[in-house]
């Protein structure tokens, strides 16, 4: 390792102002601080002399680790659904299914990271700042919340749009108002609706790099939520078999890659909570809000809104709700930041997600819109909590003067 350090020290001057590669200074420093912890020590008259070992690199890494179970299962499920769609038997073909999923998601992952990180590198250099880690998580989230075969150029355009206009123009990681990954998805959803919803896009039908069985032209299969919104309460999977609750919990159903498996999402959620990275308050209240709204809808169920007839707790198994609760609503930058505010924010996110999917037949899923809407309201919720604190102080002052 000492030789690597020596090598870095040797090439470092070339990346400093005046050096041959000065335009790549931020990139170099990004890699350097990735490889070796910075030597910067605390300074100043009023300072703590020791600092916690956690930093934003570790925080982001833990989020990625928490996403990995979903990611791996998502790859497997892409293959699984494809095999079913092709009429092939997925039993015993574990590695082929996984490999097929891997080949499908790889280009999307690469595009997402290359476009997003590329913009981050350029902006960091332009501002003469250190490269920030925020996009490491966003970059893996994006392919996980899009249909498996979303086209690469659309993904590139959407990623570039949201990184620039949702994050960088506001000042970079930590300053954004909306969740960057979700805006990418929303951009795709509203700009290319035909490619983002319906019964054709949630099962991979192509043969990436010529791999995998062939699927007949014109194949369609709606997601469970799509089927329910059309009035089919007994949802079926690809090939027509009845989708059991267990299948839905495990995630063996069509959908966006990361969102189908409630089981693996919960595993990630537990990891985030154990590590103290994501707020358990938000996670639990999103689920509580969704259950509550599902229960209310269920009481007043009418045939006009078939989704209302679903068992309230089934709402948590279908669609992107669980993923949104664990990985999207908990984004510390865009969620409510006050402790009390988090309860309100989470609960309303859950309520609105089910509200949209139940009472708006145009949108079979509402988790994305619910989180984005609540992102906008988070500052207002926080304002109320902050104001309550200020009023308490004022009331104390008035009492003391009596």
């Amino acid at each position: 390792m000492a030789s690597l350090r020596k090598y870095l020290d040797k090439i470092k001057p070339q990346f400093e102002p005046g050096g041959k590669y000065q335009a790549l200074q931020s990139v170099f420093e990004g890699f350097e601080s990735f490889l070796y912890s910075p030597r910067t020590t605390s300074a100043g008259r009023y300072t703590t002399h020791i600092h916690d070992s956690i930093d934003s690199k570790r925080t982001m890494t833990i989020v990625i680790l928490a996403l990995l179970p979903c990611f791996v299962f998502g790859m497997y499920n892409i293959g699984y659904q494809h095999w079913l769609a092709a009429g092939a038997n997925p039993e015993g073909a574990f590695w082929s299914l996984l490999f097929y999923g891997f080949l499908t998601v790889l280009p999307r992952l690469v595009v997402s990271y290359v476009v997003g990180l590329g913009i981050e590198f350029v902006v960091a250099q332009w501002r003469h700042e250190e490269i920030q880690e925020g996009f490491l998580v966003t970059g893996i989230l994006i392919p996980m919340i899009c249909p498996p075969e979303v086209s690469l150029w659309m993904l590139a355009v959407a990623t570039a749009f949201s990184v620039i206009f949702v994050k960088e123009v506001f000042g970079g990681t930590g300053y954004n108002l909306l969740n960057v990954a979700l805006v990418t998805r929303a951009f795709l959803f509203f700009a290319y609706p035909a490619h983002m919803s319906g019964d054709k896009v949630f099962v991979a039908t192509g043969q990436p790099f010529g791999f995998g069985p062939e699927v007949a032209d014109g194949f369609t299969c709606a997601t469970p939520l799509g089927q329910i919104s059309q009035g089919t309460l007994d949802v079926s999977g690809v090939g027509g078999h009845v989708l059991s609750t267990w299948d839905a919990f495990l995630g063996l159903m069509p959908g966006c890659m990361g969102e189908t498996s409630t089981l693996f999402i919960l595993i990630g959620g537990v990891l985030l909570m154990l590590a103290g990275i994501a707020s358990w308050r938000v996670m639990l209240t999103v689920f509580a809000g969704a259950l509550f709204m599902g229960w209310v809808a269920n009481i007043f169920a009418t045939p006009t809104y078939p989704m209302a007839s679903v068992e309230p707790w089934h709402q948590l198994l279908y669609g992107g709700l669980a993923f949104a609760a664990v990985f999207m609503a908990t984004d510390p930058v865009t969620s409510a930041r006050t402790t009390k505010g988090k309860y309100v924010y989470g609960f309303l996110t859950g309520v609105i997600a089910v509200l949209i999917r139940t009472y708006n037949n145009g949108y079979p899923e509402g988790a994305m819109l619910a989180v984005l809407l609540m992102n906008c309201f988070a500052p207002l919720i926080d304002w109320c909590v902050v104001e309550a604190n200020a009023r308490r102080r004022l009331a104390r002052l008035v009492r003391s003067q009596k």
Binding site: S33, P38, Y46, I50, I54, G276, T339, K342, V386, S400
Partner: protein, 457 residues
């Protein structure tokens, strides 16, 4: 009154004094050059009363406050002024005094603080160099001119900071109990409210000061920052706009009492020498402002690694060089590794149990009983990303994140509404330690307090 501080953290650091009574018995006397650093007394605008070569006796004023001319800082020893060290724009950084054998005793003016009006007592304490040892909130400054009857006075009788020493009352002298009682009696005449004496359960201070009129004992339980006045004030009677409180430590209260009894007071302290870079942590007896060279002689590990010498504790202390001095109000020196000469490969991914953290993302940390952290930030400075991190370590009913933002935005009204009058920089020390974004919170709060004071005066 019993209070329990829940929002806090006790860090287990290596280099502590295990057996206090043995260390006290083993303690050595240290003498050497002493320095008075006006910077340690926020709000004190120093003007020199002495020049190089002047002879001074212990207790003789050497600096006075331009904003409060009766307030002085006094020499801790008999000696000669070695230097008046100045920095930018001739600002006085410190007055160094070298010890010289005391000659003839000089007759000194006596200030009878045990009687007289509150205004007279305050001005006497100011002349004696004792008032500058108090802190006034709001703004965390030395008491300002014209402030006589404050709302309450808080005497902090223990130190919960990592490796800090909470001395038993006997260590302050044979007459310490008597001095403490008379000190509290003097202080109780300077407030319209009470003198709160904050101590741990079972501390002798409680039984000694219990009977003094106007004194209320507050038994504090819980981790750091329970020994800081901010936490205790918040739990007893938070400061409202327009109210003023004074805070001081046990040693200062005892000195006030000592003066009331004998018309002189001592400057000797027991100083805790701690930290993982000391070969033998222990206790030394030395005057205020002693040079660290003398204090640390022979106890620092003889290793080539860079070391950070902190006058005080790891959370709020002052960084000093080897040629530095013991700074007020600390009676502790901590020496830890500096860390700027180490290369840690992918430290952010480390699973080493030696990593010190308040978070749960270092799963193996529980294997360690004691930690030896260095002074590195352990990461790059970022915008505020994680939420609620500061609240967990703030036993005061404020929203620290929003207060910090109001300070950064120089939003005067916002600072007032969010409770800046209740805080001092030290109250943010633990939050600064735990902050993932590595923001300099204490400095931000100090700047905010100074800015607000300038704006409103």
């Amino acid at each position: 009154m019993d209070i329990k501080i829940k929002k806090g953290l006790d860090l287990k650091l290596a280099g502590g004094i295990e057996n206090v009574s043995a260390a006290l018995a083993d303690c050595r006397d240290v003498h050497g050059v002493c320095a008075i650093c006006p910077e340690d007394y926020p709000g004190f605008k120093p003007k020199a009363l002495v020049k190089e070569g002047d002879m001074v006796y212990a207790g003789e004023p050497v600096l006075y406050n331009k904003d409060y001319e009766g307030m002085t800082l006094v020499s801790p020893i008999d000696g000669r002024v070695k230097a008046v060290v100045r920095g930018d724009r001739r600002r006085i950084l410190r007055v160094e005094i070298e010890p010289i054998e005391a000659g003839e005793a000089v007759p000194r003016t006596i200030f009878p603080i045990e009687k007289g009006t509150a205004a007279n007592v305050v001005s006497s304490l100011a002349h004696l160099g004792l008032l500058a040892r108090l802190r006034q909130r709001p703004y965390d400054v030395v008491p300002t001119e014209g402030t006589t009857m404050v709302r309450d006075i808080y005497v902090m009788c223990f130190d919960a900071a990592p490796l800090a020493l909470s001395l038993p009352l006997e260590a302050f002298g044979n007459e310490a109990e008597e001095w403490l009682r008379s000190g509290l009696a003097v202080l109780s005449r300077l407030t319209t409210g009470k003198v709160y004496v904050a101590c741990r359960e079972g501390d002798k201070v409680a039984s000694v000061s219990g009977g003094v009129p106007g004194v209320e004992i507050v038994k504090v339980a819980g981790p750091y920052p329970s020994g800081l006045p901010g936490a205790v004030i918040a739990a007893t009677k938070p400061i409202n706009k327009g109210e003023t409180v004074w805070t001081l430590d046990l040693a200062t209260a005892i000195r006030v009492g000592e003066y009331a009894k004998h018309h002189k007071y001592g400057f000797e302290n027991y100083v805790a020498l701690t930290g993982s870079e000391l070969s033998a942590p222990g206790i030394a007896k030395a005057p205020d402002g002693i040079e660290l060279k003398a204090l640390l002689k022979g106890v620092v590990k003889d290793t080539p690694e860079h070391k950070r010498i902190i006058s005080g504790n790891v959370f709020t202390g002052v960084r000093e060089s080897e040629d530095g001095y013991l700074r007020f109000p600390y009676r502790q020196v901590t020496v830890i590794p500096e860390g700027d000469d180490t290369d840690e490969f992918m430290g952010w991914a480390s699973l080493a149990p030696s990593k010190v953290s308040a978070k749960r993302s270092f799963p193996l940390s529980f294997m360690r009983k004691l930690f030896s952290p260095d002074a590195r930030l352990n990461g790059g400075r970022r915008a505020m990303i994680m939420s609620g991190e500061y609240d967990r370590y703030m036993p005061i009913d404020i929203l620290p994140e929003y207060l910090v933002k109001a300070i950064l935005a120089k939003d005067v009204e916002g600072m007032e509404r969010l409770g800046i009058y209740e805080v001092a920089p030290e109250d943010f020390a633990l939050a600064e330690f735990a902050d993932t974004s590595k923001l300099p919170l204490q400095q931000i709060v100090r700047d905010g307090l100074d800015y607000l004071r300038k704006e409103l005066e």
